[in-house]
């Protein structure tokens, strides 16, 4: 299962907040695909995954796939 989260047009920290708030709505092992065009997201979404012990599966231009690990 994957949840799409459209955060385009939102400035940091909002994309990371939306991601954190969406996390409980997916099961452990499922993924969330975040679309975010704020330049800070390129650093902050990977940093959030590291700090919150979630897995960043991919980070391409403006698109981040995160797997819930816990």
């Amino acid at each position: 299962m994957n949840l799409d989260l459209d955060c385009r047009g939102l400035l940091c920290p909002l994309p990371v907040i939306k991601l954190a708030q969406a996390l409980p709505s997916v099961a452990v092992g499922d993924t969330i695909t975040v679309l975010a065009d704020d330049p800070a997201a390129a650093t902050d979404i990977p940093a959030w995954c590291r700090m919150r012990s979630q897995e960043l599966l991919s980070a391409t231009e403006n698109q981040y796939v995160v797997r819930r690990l816990n």
């Binding site: 400035l11 940091c12 920290p13 909002l14 990371v16 907040i17 954190a20 708030q21 704020d38 330049p39 800070a40 390129a42 650093t43 902050d44 990977p46 940093a47 959030w48 700090m51 919150r52």
Partner: protein
């Protein structure tokens, strides 16, 4: 005569000869003119300029203007990748390598001594932006050129230092007049130069005591901020760092809101978060380190800072962070 006095005092503080020191109109001017003149003197070798990803923007802009820049990355503490820097310097066509003495945003010291050796072996001059360190911390020897800014040690704005070791060639790309060997056109501002020298002399007499105190207070701040605020990232090297700087980022917190809230409590802090920049881009330093860029705050201690202020800062901070998080439902 007065200018000679100021120059002698400033040179002594940097551990160089007075005729190795040029006075410029700012730290930025020292970087722009110095980096350009060192690069131009090696035009026959090439136009390559190797620099770290976490240099001050004055160096990044100066490097882009003076040649073909090659950027070398840093680790999560903000420290240069020594092997990558050394191998980039050995590439053909490198005119000059630029590395800060310590990072101005996160305080991490750079291995100047080690990379000075690598540059020397490669025959490439090492240009060190020492603005964050001079007056606060010792800069290791081995550099070819070193810049500093008087207002960073409590001197007046409008005085920059450009130190160039003997044997380092310079070729200013602008009309050269007799002042400062052409490195800073026009007549130097003598009262400001004297004030800069007096301020540095005064700063250095109290430096040991002040730095010991600042180092202990920042150590305490690092521990208490990390312990008392959930989801916070205290960044930079915890030990091998400048004595007086603390930088941290709070998850889910708007940097501008936190700066404003701290201001209302009487604390003046800086931030590397995108929302606090006119460009809406986060600090290139934090991005290069791969650390959280939002909710970022930088605290700098000064000579008038007190322990009570440090203690009150860390007492009010958790409540401010909690309030800002609550406003966005976190």
């Amino acid at each position: 005569m007065l200018l000679d006095n100021a120059r002698a005092v400033l040179a002594e503080a940097l551990g160089i000869r007075p005729d190795e020191l040029y006075l410029t109109t700012s730290g930025t001017a020292a970087i722009h003119s110095g980096l350009g003149a060192v690069a131009a003197a090696r035009r026959r070798v090439g136009a390559g300029i190797v620099h770290s990803a976490v240099e001050h923007s004055a160096v990044l802009h100066g490097a882009a203007a003076a040649g073909t820049a090659t950027e070398v990355g840093v680790d999560s503490l903000g420290r240069i990748d020594v092997d990558a820097f050394a191998s980039a310097v050995r590439e053909p066509g490198v005119a000059v390598a630029a590395l800060q003495s310590a990072n101005h945003e996160v305080g991490t010291r750079q291995p100047i001594g080690e990379l000075a050796e690598a540059c020397k072996a490669a025959g490439v001059p090492l240009f060190v932006d020492g603005a964050a360190s001079i007056g606060h911390d010792v800069v290791p020897a081995g550099w070819s050129a070193l810049t500093a800014s008087a207002h960073k040690w409590g001197g007046p704005a409008g005085v920059g230092l450009l130190a160039v070791r003997k044997g380092t060639r310079l070729a200013p790309a602008w009309p050269v007049d007799e002042r400062e060997d052409g490195l800073s056109p026009g007549h130097p501002n003598i009262p400001a130069a004297l004030a800069a020298a007096a301020a540095l002399q005064a700063r250095l007499t109290e430096a040991d005591e002040l730095n010991r105190q600042h180092r202990a207070w920042i150590d305490e701040l690092r521990q208490r901020v990390a312990a008392e605020i959930p989801d916070v990232e205290v960044v930079g090297d915890p030990v091998d760092r400048l004595p007086h700087i603390l930088t941290f980022s709070c998850l889910y917190v708007d940097g501008e809101a936190l700066v404003t809230a701290l201001d209302a409590e009487g604390f003046s802090v800086s931030s590397g978060s995108a929302c606090t920049a006119s460009t809406l881009r986060p600090s290139h330093v934090l991005a290069a380190m791969g650390v959280l860029t939002h909710g970022n705050v930088r605290v700098s201690l000064g000579r008038t800072s007190t322990y009570d202020e440090v203690d009150r800062f860390v007492k009010v901070l958790p409540g401010l962070v909690q309030r800002i998080r609550a406003e966005v439902g976190m």
